[in-house]
């Protein structure tokens, strides 16, 4: 059977997107909805009475099924998009004779995708819990896009560059962080910092699982003898 690049990416993306969505509903969305309680003022941290204490506990997923269905849908769209780019990179490396893809190698490719697309931008712009204001969207999107492009190129150069050229990958990885992401010049978040930190680690963890699944499945569907 013909091994089709595009259909392999779609199968892998849909499966990885559904798995990522499931992980998000267990771990990430409850924290996000808890953050919204502070964003809307339903809960107040450092309240008017000067108390540094506020209640803890997620309101649960609730009954906003349409909203949650959108989250599942967009996870699938996002992961199919990631899958296209990741498998294109794998196929390009193989076309150039740089490597031969196996499904286990796919996990490494997936983790590299996680580092370039999720982790590197998140170092400068942490995943935002609702109730934690951030700088203007325009400059942040610019920095975010530049960082993931530079990081992806950097990893590619480290993986496939020869000799000293491979070292220039380090500069590509470091560059965006030396330039620095756009930030507000004051803190005025209304959500508890502990919850914000948990949200960041939970969402990065879910993304790491999603990406390594995606990498494995992309390579598996593409190289499988059917």
């Amino acid at each position: 059977m013909t091994k089709n690049l595009l259909t392999s990416a779609v199968f892998a993306g849909v499966a990885a997107g559904l798995i990522a969505a499931l992980l998000q509903f267990v771990f990430v969305i409850p924290a996000l909805l808890e953050g919204e309680l502070f964003e809307t003022g339903a809960r107040i941290h450092f309240g008017a009475n000067g108390s540094p204490e506020s209640d803890r506990g997620s309101p649960g997923l609730g009954t906003e099924w349409a909203r949650h269905a959108m989250t599942v849908g967009f996870n699938v769209v996002t992961y199919v998009g990631f899958g296209f780019l990741l498998l294109a990179a794998m196929a390009f490396a193989e076309l150039r004779g740089l490597t031969t893809i196996t499904s286990k190698q796919g996990i490494i490719w997936g983790l590299a995708g996680f580092i370039a697309i999720q982790l590197a931008p998140a170092i400068g712009l942490p995943p935002e819990l609702p109730g934690t204001p951030a700088a203007e969207i325009g400059p942040r999107q610019m920095w975010w896009l530049g960082t993931l492009v530079a990081s992806a190129l950097g990893l590619w150069v480290i993986a496939f560059g020869r000799g000293v050229i491979a070292l220039s990958g380090v500069i590509l990885l470091l560059g965006p962080h030396i330039i620095g992401a756009p930030h507000l010049d004051a803190f005025w978040g209304v959500a508890p910092p502990e919850l914000s930190a948990e949200f960041v680690t939970l969402s990065l963890g879910a993304a790491a699982a999603g990406w390594s699944t995606l990498g494995f499945l992309c390579a598996w569907f593409w190289t499988k003898e059917l």
């Binding site: 909203r67 849908g73 967009f74 769209v77 996002t78 935002e128 969207i137």
Partner: protein
Amino acid sequence: MNAQNNTAAQTKTIARTDLSVLPIAFAVLGGLMLLFASGYAQASVLHDAAHDQRHAMAFPCH
């Protein structure tokens, strides 16, 4: 032994019929379009629908 390995690798590579530039270019284009819609476009309908997912994926949201 080495020659055998090379032949095996070549056969495997040739078996993947999509190994040419065109499908790779299509994949890149398709991937960029999907990600633009799910992670980047600021049209309010798209933004609201993708809101939770964008936050969860660390995309700059609003």
